[in-house]
Amino acid sequence: MQDAVLAMLAKEPSHGYGLRARLRRSLGPLGESMNPGQIYVTLARLEKAGLVVGERTDGLPERPERKVYALTAAGQQRVSAWLSEVSWPKPDLAEFHLKLAAAAAARLADPVELVGAQRRELLRRVREAQRAALAEPVGSPAGLLLEGVVLRLQADLRWLEACERAWSSTDDEGEGA
């Protein structure tokens, strides 16, 4: 969030509410759960870290004392670093993988059933994202984000299929032995 807010300020200095409006346009329905105060908390942290500087302006009569935020030189540098960074959030597969192994070893639960429950949960998420995508106008930026959400969930579902196959055959071997 901090990096995204900094990068938005690279275009031009802005009020908090202007940044919030831009975030919501990009995220569409996915941004609806965002806490309205989050942007101000983020800006305050960035200011404290010396990455942005806020200047009070007279603003409009009905909205007095607005702060306009601008990047500092350090902020500019951080934006450049963020843009050239190639990190990628890691999906949390190991935890589920270990859960299956532990459940099977201690005979606490049937791994195949755990996989089934996880699969149903992911399918519900695909449904939610897909329905939100259908409600977006063609070509909206939020539609593109929802597309990414759906594709990642599909990859997870494919992995769950592999888990199901593997743990089902482990069962058979167990019974045969």
Binding site: G31, E32, G116, R120, R125, R127, A129
Partner: protein, 246 residues
């Protein structure tokens, strides 16, 4: 088993191919009821029997055993002729490869089932016009299939499936030949049908297509491995999908 709410129901439904050692149980004694207005998706690996199930539901194939009920009538015991008549009037099919008549315009393709069911030309034109409007293709009514995009062709096929106001629409991999944008076009039409209370069963290998349904059945080796109702939120809101909820 076939209460008034069930549009289609099967009991002990089986379809076998071959015999002896080479006997293949494509569909192996399944029970199913699809209530009016439900959108059901059937998924599974290729060869799991999902397409065969769809063909049995629509009377395109005869079962080796069990019963098929459609709109409160037992249909697996009907004569070929009676079954063909029932299919024309009560079942709408949508196929992966569209199956449009290439020599006919979009409008003529949609009119065809009305004429085959004994409707007048005027009635056919009126109904086709209404359906093409519903799928957003009024401006393409005079085009040949070859002049339409994949998504538009499938929308014509959906209009054709709907034109006789069927009890049920059966769709076999309806987005199998379509790219993402065209898939969304077809899913938007399905969503409109769902809202209008149309009963629909589709077979698909695409989770995102299946997930738009109300209910999802997973098939393995001719049997139902899972039967899940998908409606209802996972409880975290859309923001949770991208980690915005912290």
């Amino acid at each position: 088993m076939n209460g008034p709410a069930a549009v289609v129901g099967v009991r002990g439904l089986a379809k076998h191919h071959g015999q002896g050692q080479s006997l293949v149980r494509a569909v192996d004694a399944v029970d199913l009821e699809v209530p009016r207005g439900q959108m059901l998706a059937v998924m599974g690996p290729s060869g799991c029997g999902k397409s065969t199930l769809l063909h049995l539901l629509g009377g395109l194939e005869r079962p080796s055993g069990g019963e098929v009920w459609l709109g409160g009538r037992r249909v697996d015991t009907l004569s070929e002729r009676a079954l063909a008549r029932l299919r024309r009037r009560s079942v709408g099919f949508v196929f992966q490869a569209f199956h449009l008549v290439e020599e006919l315009s979009a409008a003529e393709n949609v009119e065809l089932p009305v004429l085959l069911a004994g409707g007048s030309r005027r009635e056919a034109r009126r109904r086709a016009g209404r359906l093409l409007e519903r799928v957003g293709l009024t401006g393409r009514a005079g085009h040949l299939p070859s002049q339409l995009s994949g998504g538009q062709r499938q929308r014509v096929a959906v209009a054709r499936a709907m034109v006789n106001d069927p009890l049920i629409v059966l769709a076999d991999e309806p987005t199998g030949n379509l790219d993402t944008a065209a898939t969304l076009e077809v899913l938007r039409i399905f969503e409109e049908l769902r809202t209008a209370g149309q009963t629909l069963v589709m077979v698909t290998h695409d989770e995102r297509v299946a997930a738009t349904a109300d209910r999802l059945i997973s098939m393995r080796d001719g049997m139902f491995a899972d039967d899940t109702y998908l409606a209802g939120s996972h409880g975290r809101g859309l923001g949770g999908l991208i980690g915005l909820d912290g």
